[in-house]
Amino acid sequence: MVVPLIYYIALSSALFAIGVIGVLIRRNAIIIFMCIEMMLNAVNLSLVGFADHYQAIDGQMFVFFVMTVAAAEVAVGLALIVAIFRNKATVNVDELNLMKW
């Protein structure tokens, strides 16, 4: 009846892998950013799964704090993308090579 813990781990790993693939293969900075959000979400999913398995509320507390950090990260990251776009008129990460050696 109860969902086994390994299901949560499998789904979390798969979503995380999809996020990693998105970061690796896409060149649009906004989509890369969305994939990072998906990876954070995948980690939250495994934390909630473990919290349910061991009936420990600490896992859900961690999810709460991860969400806060994600919100702060999105605010700063999107501001950065807007600032970069105003300077270079692109969000393609191949063309943003100012700090590349």
């Binding site: 999809i18 293969i25 859900q60 507390m61 806060t68 999107l78």
Partner: protein, 165 residues
């Protein structure tokens, strides 16, 4: 319950893949919202009602509105990449590496003993239980969170306003 989980998981995986393969960023964002909603449904199955509500409000609401807002603001029309071929080897190797890593994690977790599932505590994951923990054991991190959000707010305002020359 397992059937519900599997349906939600399938929708989450499909929408996740669609986020990655969509060319138009707006469509990617909309599929990501669907992904967040299905994950919120899975949180409900895992007795995390408060977290599910926060997931819908903060992730599917606030964060994705911010994303859509920026996408509309930048009004991206140009095709994403010119040199499709030159990245193909990188793309395939990156995808293969990520897939193999995920499979290794799942395989490892099937081999170790995760222990038996605990008995369901009444009221676990309710707003009351979460708030009790948040305002006792996690009071200091909770307060520091407000400072973090303030710093992010100021940083975002300054970054989006200033002209970087």
């Amino acid at each position: 319950m397992q059937v519900l989980f599997l349906i939600l998981a399938a929708v989450a995986l499909i929408s996740g893949v669609l986020v990655v393969i969509q060319v138009n960023p707006v469509r990617s964002a909309l599929y990501l919202i669907l992904n967040f909603f299905t994950v919120a449904g899975i949180y409900l199955l895992a007795h995390a009602e408060f977290i599910a509500a926060i997931q819908v409000i903060v992730y599917a609401g606030a964060i994705m509105v911010l994303f859509l807002f920026v996408i509309m603001l930048l009004n991206l029309r140009q095709p994403e990449e010119g040199g499709e071929k030159q990245h193909l080897a990188q793309k395939i190797s990156g995808a293969a590496l990520a897939g193999v890593t995920a499979l290794l994690v799942i395989y490892t977790c099937t081999r170790i003993n995760l222990g038996p599932a605990k008995e369901m505590v009444p009221g676990f994951g309710s707003t009351e239980a979460v708030a009790r923990s948040l305002f006792t054991d996690y009071l200091l991190p909770f307060e520091v969170t407000s400072v973090l959000l303030l710093v992010a707010l100021i940083g975002a305002v300054i970054l989006a306003r200033a002209r970087l020359d």
